[in-house]
Symmetry: C3
Subunit: 132 residues, 3 copies
Amino acid sequence: MQRITIQSPAIAAPRFRYSPCVRIGDTVQLSGMIALDAASGELVAGGPGAEAAAILRSLQRALPDYGVSLDELLIARIYTTRLDLFGEINAAWEAVFMPGVIPPARTSVGVSALPLGASVEIEFTFVQAVQP
Amino acid sequence: MQRITIQSPAIAAPRFRYSPCVRIGDTVQLSGMIALDAASGELVAGGPGAEAAAILRSLQRALPDYGVSLDELLIARIYTTRLDLFGEINAAWEAVFMPGVIPPARTSVGVSALPLGASVEIEFTFVQAVQP
Amino acid sequence: MQRITIQSPAIAAPRFRYSPCVRIGDTVQLSGMIALDAASGELVAGGPGAEAAAILRSLQRALPDYGVSLDELLIARIYTTRLDLFGEINAAWEAVFMPGVIPPARTSVGVSALPLGASVEIEFTFVQAVQP
């Protein structure tokens, strides 16, 4: 068991020195994601709902590269500067975690500022469900 | 090893699509908890101290259902909109983690808003201390 | 496997009842650290950059006691009341996670207040990279 970092073309290249995805053993930890377009690296327009949807779309595109599935998602931590518009964020969430899909744990917090002027940041932690 | 979600009647039913408690292998991850009365689903009155006490009381009631104990608590993350009243929150904490009880790691952060107008949210992560 | 707490003289004694470092199995979880001088227990002066540098210096001094290395760092969560000065914080970060050093995952969030008037708090999670 050793630490590995995993790149995905679905995720915008980091602007700073951090790893977007780190695996150690069964744990796959993602850095907090904001709604950056993978190609342009620019923040997606449209506010909290559009940003949350873009983050979840990027996540789903990256999952094959990261080697985990939504069934192995332990927790999502949602940080937003617009908790007053949480309904928008939650609608994007429920488009992915729809009835029939077992959702992970989730923590939602209203914060004062996010990198690059984002209004939503989500951090995902997976633990690989290895069959015995 | 696979992901399981665990319900407890001590915890108010989620208003959104998330799982209050998720276990994968040795890790038991709770969603951020606010001070909701388990029966009514309403936020407990009385401010940060009362909310922190209610969260910790709910946690302790749910532990048997979740299959973990306070001895297996890795970390508590406390988010509060009233960091100026942290003394109240900490008093509720110390009523549980009293002298003689080894406390977990803890991270405390002042935030701008919390769901449902709460002034305190606490997220708990347990790792099961399996005997070798 | 059981929970152990680890003390380091490089880390200021807790003012409250929490454990600065908790190990359960392969996971080593630190409490959120602010820039407290280990000897005096006072907050380091100089603003976000100086605080981030002091936190990272304390971390590096404590690592031998904690029994982990930066190669086993899964994620750092940075909370700051001065996200507008994130460049200062990041400069301190890059002085440690310099080219050639593989960085961990990282989540950065702007918050409204931190304990003891700090402008930066960082929480570190390690998973021990045991060789098979």
